[in-house]
Every structure is written in C-alpha cells, then in structure tokens.
C-alpha cells in the first residue's frame, strides 16, 4: 500500500501531471455544465415555441371555429407543433441537435415539403462543434494521458533510475502496472466525476449512463495502452516519445476522421433530398391540370373508405386539395425511403469505422446512447410522419363527410406527444472498441515485460 501512496505523491509532485489532471477535471466539469446549459436552453426554446403556438392557435380558433366552420380552411390555417426535447443524456453528447431542428410545425399539406425546413441557426457558431463531455473525452482526455505517460519509462532512464527499478525483485515488477493503473484511475475519475454528477442532475437512465461510462473507460484504456506501448518501446528521449504520441493523437482524432468523412460523403452522395422535394412539387402542382378523377383514383388506393363519397364537380373542393397533397407524398415515397437509406448508410459506415478508429467508435456510442445523432433525427422525422397520418385520420371524416368544423372540434385535434427515445447501445461498436483496447494493452504489456527482461540481466 505504501508503494501506491508513494506513487500518488510522486505523481502530484510533478507540476505537469498535477496540472494536467486538475485541468481535465476543470474542463470536464465545465463541459458538463455547458452541456446542461445547452439542453436547458433547448427546453426553454421548446417552452417558448409552445407559448407562441398557443397564441397562434387561439387566433385560428377565433377565425375558423364558426358554427358553419369548414374543416378545409381550419386544416389549412392550423399548424400543429411537434417537438423533440433533448434526452436526459443529451447534455453529454449534444451531437447534431445544434443543426437539426427540434421544433417543427406541420399542416395537413404534403409533408415532404414541410419536413426539411431548417431552424434559424448561426452557422458560424455551429462550425467549430459543440463543447460537451464527448468533446472533452474524445479530444482532450488523450492529451492528458499523453502528458502523464510519455516519460513514464524514459523519464526514469534519463534520471538514471531505470536499471535500479527493473532490478528490484518485488515492487520493481509491478511498478509500471501500478503507475499505469494509478494514472488510469485518476484520469477516469477526473472525467467521469463531473459526468456522473451531470447524469444525476438530469436524471439520466442508469443503463445508458453506464454505457457511456463504459465507453469512456475503454477509450481511456486504449490511449493509456498506446501511451504505455510508446513509453516502453521508445528507446529514445522523452521529447521524442511525446512527439510520437501527439502524432498518434493527430492521426487518430483529427486526420483519419476528416479523411473518412471525405471518403464517406463522396461514396454516399445524398442529393436525393433535393430530388424528392422537386419531384413532390411537380406531382402536387400537376394535379391542377389533370382531371380530378385521376387524383382521386390514386388516393382511393390507400383510402377505399372514401370511395363512395360524392364526386367533386366544381373547380375546387378541399377534399380534392388534400387528396392531391397526399398523393404527392405517396408519389415520392420510394425516393423518401431511398433518401433515408442513404443517410442511414452514412451512419452505418461511420459505426463500421469505429472498428478501426476508437474516436469514431466513442463518437457513435455516446451519441447513440444520448439519442442525439442523425439516426435520432430520422426517428423524429418518422414520428412526425406518423403524427401527420393521425392528422389525416382526424380531418378526413370532416372533409369527406362534409361535417362542419366548429369551436369544439379544435379541442379534439390530435396533439403531438414527443417520441420515445430511440437510444440504443451499439454493442458492435462496444465490442470493436474492446478488441482494440485488448490488442493495444496486450502489446503494451508485452513491451513492458521485455523492458524488464532486457534491463534486468544488465543490472544484476
């Protein structure tokens, strides 16, 4: 036990080590606080929008909630608010929530022309990326590990203590393990302490919190293993080892991800979003120039229940108008599926990259657990789609049975309830990370062993 105590003392006596650890604790706490502030801000925005929406709805009710009110105009002028509040763990990994809208109003019109609307966003603020726990873990924690580990062996050699250390029979063998484990626990503590506090504050589910903590533990273990490997294998100076490790950091957290993104975005182009909105517009507007019966024919395929309602004879009828919009959406359903497939494919390839790249694995894991990635946004879009279906089911009886739409009917309107979390635990990413960690740690342990063996006979 006294050996542990001595190592703790030694570690904190070095200004760099103590400073790096304290800095990590501080930055991690700051990131958790910033993340909590950002999610609180998003909830505030949702509250504000809900208030604005109530105001707007009240004026619509006043205008269209007449005794002989028409469901067509009511549906045209009523916007329905959908919201996607942040998950309890979003504070740790804000992901795409800064660029994807989390409030969106939809009407009974064609959904595909409403679904991709962007929120007001200052692009310059989004450009550098969020400052959250994920950022601290992925970018900064490795640097702290490097600062703590780069001269673990070479520092002893440069101080002339190395031979003595490895020749010690009892404590000597365990010295590297002890020092590594000590650094590992301290780094992990500095990282996870604030994170766990944040998770408690935001009442995060235990399972996902544990998954993030596990991912962090594995990621830190990977970097510790890598640093130990370089420290043990590197025969040259501390500075050279430090440089080599910084090189690894640049390659693994800046270079390869940027390169991979370039490759993925080129291999899986997604202009289809524009294609499908252009196609949908053509479908909807063509309906004005073709016989109404053609539009209804297509509409009745999915809605046989309205087949026997009276035909539209005049120039305009609301039920024809909304049928035209639904047919427009149906006409591009294949394109929509294709668009989502290509977006999902980008995510899938990023997750696969995690088998090789710990930073990508952790990025995927954290954001999946926090439900703040592209897949989460797609889940929100699908939920809006379901809600839009409910809106149709609600309005169509009024339109096709020509029932008046009155004040009380506004009360019956479907309300959007936020979707259940789509968070999941990507087990394959976790396994991939685990394999990487085992490999690196194995190599590091071997390197440390050979270090002792090569130095020991010399000393004796």
């Amino acid at each position: 036990m006294s050996a542990w105590k001595a190592d703790v003392k030694l570690l904190f006596r070095a200004r760099l080590s103590a400073g790096a650890l304290l800095l990590l604790l501080l930055v991690s706490a700051l990131a958790v606080a910033a993340g909590l502030a950002a999610t609180a801000r998003q909830r505030d925005v949702i509250g504000r929008v809900e208030a604005a929406q109530r105001l707007d709805l009240a004026s619509v009710v006043l205008e269209y909630g007449k005794p002989d009110g028409n469901a067509g105009s009511a549906a045209y002028y009523t916007f329905h608010l959908t919201t996607d509040p942040p998950s309890p763990l979003a504070f740790a990994a804000l992901g795409q929530r800064d660029v994807q809208p989390y409030v969106l109003r939809v009407r009974l019109l064609g959904l595909q022309s409403q679904l991709y609307e962007s929120e007001t966003l200052n692009p310059e603020l989004a450009l550098p990326g969020a400052f959250d726990f994920a950022f601290v873990l992925i970018y900064l924690a490795p640097l702290v590990i490097i600062a703590l580990m780069y001269d673990l062996v070479s520092g002893e050699r440069e101080a002339g203590r190395l031979r003595l250390l490895v020749s010690l029979p009892v404590s000597g063998r365990g010295v590297w393990a002890r020092r590594s484990v000590l650094r590992y626990l301290l780094v992990l503590g500095a990282l996870l302490g604030p994170f766990v506090v944040g998770a408690v504050i935001s009442r995060a589910p235990v399972g996902e919190t544990f998954a993030i903590a596990l991912a962090a533990a594995l990621y830190v273990a990977f970097w510790l293993g890598l640093a130990l490997l370089v420290a043990a294998r590197g025969r040259s100076s501390s500075a050279a080892n430090g440089a080599a490790l910084i090189g690894c950091w640049i390659v693994l957290t800046l270079l390869v991800p940027a390169l991979a993104n370039a490759v993925i975005s080129r291999a899986l182009p997604v202009a289809k979003g524009i294609d499908l909105t252009l196609a949908q517009r053509e479908l909807v507007h063509r309906a004005w120039d073709i016989p109404k019966q053609e539009t209804f024919q297509r509409f009745f395929v999915n809605h046989p229940e309205w087949r026997d309602t009276p035909p539209v004879l005049g120039r305009f009828h609301w039920k024809w108008y909304y049928a035209m919009h639904e047919v427009g959406d149906d006409g591009v359903s294949a394109e929509v599926a294709e668009y989502r497939r290509s977006l999902t494919a980008r995510e899938v390839w990023t997750a696969r990259l995690g088998w090789l790249l710990p930073a990508a694995a952790v990025q995927t894991l954290l954001h999946r657990a926090a439900d703040s990635d592209l897949l989460a946004h797609l889940a929100y879009q699908r939920d809006i789609e379901r809600f839009h279906g409910r809106l149709r089911d609600f309005y169509y009886p009024y339109l096709f049975q020509e029932r008046p739409f009155q004040n009380a009917d506004f009360e019956q309107m479907p309300r959007y309830a936020p979707r259940p979390s789509s968070a999941s635990l990507p087990v394959s990413s976790l396994l991939g990370l685990l394999v990487l960690v085992v490999l690196v740690l194995g190599a590091a342990v071997t390197a440390v062993r050979s270090l002792s063996l090569s130095a020991a006979p010399d000393a004796s």
Binding site: S59, V103, E124
Partner: protein, 478 residues
C-alpha cells in the same frame, strides 16, 4: 556582407542542418506538405462537383418552371421557384460555413422559407471532426508542426550547454535569435509553399481572383509566422526544451481546439435566438394588426380600396380596368415582405452580435482572426451567406409581384369564368435567379482589414517579445 549578417545566416544554416538530420521532423513536414496538396486537389474536385450539381439542379428547376402549362398566375406563385446557392471559387480552399448553411431555398408567395439541405444535417457526426481542406491543414495541423520544429531552437542549446559556448565565442544573443527566427521563417515558407503553389496555379488558370488569393496567402503566412515567433519566444524563455514543448502544445490546444468551441457556447447563452416558428407567428400577428384584406370593413384595406378607386377614377371595384383581387394580392405581398425584411434584418443583427462576441476574442486566439479572414476572402463566411439570402428575398419579391401583376393585367376583373388562365409563354418572361457574387473585398473590406491588423499586431508583439527575451538571454548568460 556585414559580419553580423554572416553570423545570423550561419546560425540559421546550423538550425536547418539540425532539422534536416531529425528524421521525425522530416517525415512530419513531408506528410503535411502531402496533406496540403491532397486536400487542395480533393477540395477542388469536391467544389467543382458540388458547383456542377447545384448548377444542374438550378437549370432543371428553371426549365420545369418555364415548361408549366397555361395557368392562373396565382397557381404559379404557389408553384414557386427553387434557387441554389453557387459556390465561390475559393471555397475549395476554405469551404467555411457552407456545410452548415442550407444550399437551396424554395421561393413562393406569402412565405419566406429557410435554406435547406445543408451537408451538416445530412452527415454523420464525423463531419464535426473537421473537414479535410487546405484551410483545416494550415489552421489546425501546421501550427503544431511548426511548434514541434521550433520549440527546442534555443532551449535545447541551453540544455546541452552549447548556448553558453556560442555566446562566449562572441555571438550576440540578438544575432542568435535572429538566426533562429530566420531558420524558422524558412520552415514556415516551406510549410506554406504547397498552398502558395496551389493558389498561384489556380490564379494563373483564372479559377480564382488574384487579389483575394494573395491576401489569403499572406494571412496564412502571418498566422504561421505567429506560431514560429511564439515557439521561439517560449524557447528563449524556458529553461528546458521539454517544458517549452509542453507549454506550446498547451497553447495550441487552448487556442486552436478549446477556445473556438467554448466561445460559441458563451455567445449562444448570452444572445438567444428566436426560432423560425416564433418569427412566423410574430409576422402573422403583426400582419393581422395592419389589416385583413378579406374583411370589407377593415380600415386599412378600405382606405387602400378608396385610394385605388381614386387612382383609376372609378366608383366601384367592379368598374376597375384591372383585376381587383390581384391588386389586393400585390398589396398583401408588399406588406408581408416588409415584415419579413424587418425580421430578417433583426435576425442578421443578432447573428452579427453573436459573431462579434466571438470575434472579439480574435485577440485571444489568432485562429479566430485568421478563420474569419480566410472565410471572408473565400466568400464562405456568414455575411456572404446572408448576402445570398438577401438577394434571394429581393428576387422572391420581384418574382411574386411579377406574377401578381400578370394577374392584375391579364385576368379579367369581371366574368373571368370558372377557371381563368393565362398563356404559358408568360412564364418564360419571368426573371430567373442569377446570383450576383459579391465583391468580397468590397462587402467584407472592413473585416478583412481588421483581421489582418489583428494578425499583424500579434506578430509584431511576439517579435518584440523575442527581442526582449534575447536581451534578457544575454544578461542571464553573462
């Protein structure tokens, strides 16, 4: 040549020899050079592909518009137009905020839509690790390489005891510092050389405008000199080479990785942004305050009616020679657009305020000043996106009012029939959208100047610091 110059050159040559012997340094430098070239080639290819795709979409959408059949003009107001933002030539070097702003806007009457389908919304989170562009390589990676090459310039000599020896042999500290600085200025020139070649070739081939590329290159050169001077300064001050390295890497981490992410958080917390929905509701509400065109007793539209009748010298709307509904539509569009403009201006002002907060810290992290400069010169900054949105809105107004005017003039005011339409050839006479790329030196002249000034101040301060540290070195060594 004076002996002083010879000595400085000797010191520089020695430093170069030491650097050339360092295999790791050579590999890192060559990698960076290769990265700059690769990213430039990839960037150029990507830019051209994106630009071609957007031009193609614009052409298809314009053709589809012209090919619409006979219709009521108001149907065409709702059919609307799609416009795509063309990419500037220098976007291959620094795509700036382009990945985060939408690239296409749908234009229609009564509504102002957002720019949609940004790359960031359609990408996995890998995009947030940074895009591999020459700007990314030079802004983020190159400073670290320079730090690694220069941190030991003086500190190592001191550590190895050669410093005392050199000074004892009569080399003045200022000469030593000047020599080391010269050596690393050379390093910076080499690091920036691929970018120079790329920009020069692009300029000569007439792909990019010469003055912005020259300014861009000088901005990056000054930025890299700042890092070289900072490395030398720390190397002059710190006792051990290792400490110099740690300090410099920490500075890089803070200035390049941490501060740029922290500041937006601050700006967003300080200056909240209203959502599009709140704006829409507010516009709608304000519009109602002005008047209701459907209400015959509405004071605003009653006076509009009186004025119109007086202008045409008739007593009833039925007697108007032009279509009354069209006139009301035009007036309505004018009113909504005024409100859109006001809210858009308020939003731009708020963005400007947020960005000002971040940019003020250009004095804290030269990266912020450089990034701003680079984006402005490449026409990929927030302001040029706003300029695009403003042009789009002006075009939307012209386009919608042109259609409304067709309704006023071509649709009979009385007995127009069940389904009045006008001939399809009218659609071809409507203005298409051509984006007038702004002259960035004009639009962003003030920002470009001030960011250059910030960068030069940084460099001057650091060089002065080096001079002071060199004098101090002489005192310490004595």
């Amino acid at each position: 040549m004076s002996s002083r110059k010879v000595k400085v050159l000797r010191v520089a040559a020695e430093e170069w020899r030491a650097l050339l012997r360092n295999r790791v340094a050579m590999i890192a430098s060559l990698t960076l050079v290769a990265l700059t070239v690769t990213s430039a080639v990839l960037g150029l290819q990507q830019r051209n592909a994106t630009e071609a795709a957007r031009a193609r979409y614009q052409a298809t959408s314009d053709e589809a518009f012209d090919a619409q059949p006979d219709r009521h003009p108001h149907r065409m107001v709702h059919y609307g137009q799609f416009v795509f933002r063309p990419l500037s030539a220098l976007a291959f070097f620094d795509p700036g905020v382009d990945g985060f702003t939408g690239t296409t806007v749908f234009l229609e009457g009564h509504r102002q839509n957002s720019a949609n389908f940004s790359e960031a919304r359609q990408s996995s989170l890998l995009l947030r690790f940074g895009q591999l562009t020459p700007a990314f390589v030079l802004q983020t990676l190159a400073p670290l390489l320079i730090v690694f090459l220069a941190f030991g310039a003086v500190a190592r000599e001191r550590e190895q005891g050669t410093l005392r020896l050199l000074l004892a042999q009569g080399l003045r500290p200022s000469e030593l510092a000047a020599g080391k600085l010269l050596a690393h200025v050379g390093v910076v020139a080499l690091v920036a050389a691929p970018a120079l070649v790329v920009l020069a070739v692009a300029t000569l081939a007439d792909w990019v405008p010469p003055l912005p590329s020259a300014l861009m290159l000088s901005g990056y050169l000054v930025y890299l000199f700042i890092w070289a001077a900072a490395a030398l300064l720390v190397s002059l001050l710190v006792r051990r080479a290792q400490d110099a390295l740690i300090l410099l890497v920490a500075l890089w981490m803070g200035g390049v990785i941490l501060v740029p992410r922290l500041l937006p958080e601050l700006a967003l917390a300080r200056i909240p942004t209203p959502t599009r929905i709140e704006t829409d509701v507010a516009v709608h509400h304000e519009l109602k305050q002005i008047g209701d065109s459907h209400n015959p007793d509405d004071p605003y539209f009653a006076s509009f009616k009186a004025k119109t009748l007086a202008r045409y010298g008739v007593d009833k709307v039925e007697e108007l020679p032009v279509q009354w509904a069209g006139l009301v539509g035009m007036e309505g569009e004018r009113l909504t657009s005024e409100l859109f403009d006001r809210h858009a201006r308020a939003a731009f002002d708020r963005e400007a305020e947020q960005n000002r907060l971040v940019r003020q810290f250009g004095s804290l992290s030269p990266l912020i000043a450089l990034r701003q400069l680079s984006m402005s010169l490449a026409s990929t900054d927030t302001e040029s996106h706003q300029d695009f949105l403003e042009q789009v809105e002006r075009h939307r107004y012209r386009f919608v009012q042109a259609l409304n005017l067709l309704q006023v003039e071509k649709i009979p005011n009385q007995n127009a029939g069940e389904d009045p339409r006008i001939a399809a050839e009218h659609w071809k006479t409507l203005p298409g959208f051509t984006y007038q790329a702004p002259d960035m030196l004009h639009l962003a002249g003030e920002r470009i100047r001030s960011n250059l000034v910030v960068l030069f101040c940084w460099l001057a301060a650091l060089l002065a610091g080096c001079g002071w540290a060199a004098r101090r070195l002489g005192e310490v060594a004595r």
